[in-house]
Amino acid sequence: MNAPLLQARDLVKRFPVRHGLTRRLAGQVRAVDGVSVRVDAGETLGLVGESGCGKSTVARLLTRLIEPTSGTVSVSGRELTTLDGRLMRPVRRDLQMIFQDPYSSLNPRHTVRQILTAPYRYQGLTPDEPVEELLERVGLRPEHAARYPHEFSGGQAQRIGIARALALRPRLVVCDEPVSALDVSVQAQILNLLKDLQQEYGLAYVFIAHDLGAVRQISTRVAVMYLGTVVETADRDTLYGRAAHPYTHALLSAVPLPDPDAERARERIVLRGDLPSPLAPPSGCPFRTRCPRAADRCAAERPLLRTIASGHEVACHYPEGRT
């Protein structure tokens, strides 16, 4: 069997929290606490969760924008975490990223042409495709090459970010909340564009978002994160149709449906309280403080991800529909 395109094992990232004049160490935020994911060529892994669950930190770890505290990331079987900057550079051709805020991720003093040729410059390559063609591929016009980022709308600016990510013909693009800053009509266009480009170039995506609708639209598999860990992972239809983790259930039932009768008739699981602090996560299962099914065992013993059906893993002692 071929090595997966991307494989992350037991990723952990802790950020120190310092206080006072002496910058004494006051604690550690466990932003990512043992995450393993794999992405195969041409597929889209959706990574979904609420603020503070660690999904953006995972994005930065996968692309090695930050170093993990422990754990490994490999691309096509090649271990990245040990590579130095010089050896990392060619790997970046295969591994690109799209960010949430299209304006802050584009240099305001550079024209679109400069932005889109920068990846080639850093790689010491000559562009194999004129900037104009690249622009047309993402739905912009050739004459846009001479303009500056502020002359574009949010959706157009995101298209520029996508074009930059595609310039080097990567195999994997990590998209961190690429549509959350956009209006729904623009969001639909960008999601369609990402799907078209995936087919055209055989791209794989890691699509990170808090919007469960957008994740469903684009993903082939989905991983749900809570407080730095993956609590459930399954193929898209299983996750949206037969979720097993109580948190996934609560998340899905919390999304308001644009359908008055269905929205008013549905049974809603409203979670109590707020997300616990990642400075002092609960003992045992991280979700137990808000879980409607929590029992004594959940406080004592942390549930590990286990396979409950083919391709369906869940980290829960008492998964739904299986007790």
Partner: protein, 273 residues
């Protein structure tokens, strides 16, 4: 009975930007009116114009509240209405709260300004309101500062502040947009309960069709400063007539129902600029 009537409301900003263009609205006492639209549709400007909070814009047309004309009313009379009979909550509760004062004091401040009540009574009202919006240990939390609250709890504080004078109208401008989906569900549940208990009419401004579907009785869809469609919520959602409304409903990626391979899009307006 109609509580709020807006007729031919037009808002012009310096530089020739017309944010609202001849808008009519009607809101019955105790009802929820959903005002939906995308960025730049004029929905927030409309709410500010109703409250008389646009000193630098040219506002024409008429706003009537409970039979009284608000447009052209002097500052003193408007201030007496604001907070007391018309209250407002915004998207970002942190920027609406004063970081230097405990939240209980800030809730009491609004109450005392309108009711000429003393410190002790103000505090009592604040604690009662915090309890009503579901904040645990209200007596203790009333003495806490805004930074000690989570986003969802801060929005609860804002709701407590808005409702402490039992207003006839609550204007909620994207009240759950900054919140996580599970916390959003809590706040929507709270708004639903409060509305049933208090009979406050709500003007709910949002871009989220799902939020409107769950809460509104009537809906107005705005685009480019105009109302492109209006009607009872089921009419607008199940039998939309306007092409923009149809597009807006169709392009939302959903967590239920059939999954389209491509999402329908509204137009090429976004790419041709």
């Amino acid at each position: 009975m109609t509580l709020l009537t807006v007729r031919d409301l037009t808002v012009d900003f310096a530089g020739g930007v017309r944010a609202v263009d001849g808008l009519d609205l009607d809101l019955a006492a105790g009802a929820v009116l959903g005002v939906v639209g995308e960025s730049g549709s004029g929905k927030s400007v409309t709410s500010l114009a109703v409250m008389g909070l646009l000193p630098d814009a040219r506002v024409t047309g008429e706003v009537r509240f409970d039979g009284r004309r608000l447009t052209g009313l002097d500052g003193r009379s408007l201030r007496r209405l604001r907070g007391d009979r018309i209250a407002m909550i915004f998207q970002d509760p942190l920027s609406c709260l004063n970081p230097y004062y405990p939240v209980g004091f800030q809730i009491a401040e609004a109450y005392r300004a309108h009711r000429r009540a003393g410190r002790r009574e103000g505090h009592r009202v604040a604690v009662r309101m915090l309890d009503r919006v579901g904040i645990p240990e209200p007596e203790r939390r009333a003495r806490a500062y805004p930074h000690e609250f989570s986003g969802g709890m801060r929005q609860r504080v804002m709701i407590a502040m808005a409702l402490c004078l039992e207003p006839d109208l609550l204007i909620a401008d994207e009240p759950t947009t900054a919140l996580d989906v599970t916390v959003q569900a809590q706040i929507l549940e709270l708004l639903r309960e409060l509305r049933e208990m208090s009979g406050t009419a709500v003007m709910l401004i949002t871009h989220d069709m799902g939020v409107v579907a769950g809460l509104a009785d009537e809906v107005v869809v705005m685009y480019g400063g105009r109302a492109v469609e209006r009607g009872p919520v089921r009419e607008v959602f199940y039998r939309p007539r306007d092409t923009y409304t149809k597009g807006l409903l169709a392009c939302v990626p959903r967590v239920d129902g059939p999954l389209p391979d491509r999402l329908p899009t509204l137009s090429a307006r976004e790419v041709t600029a």
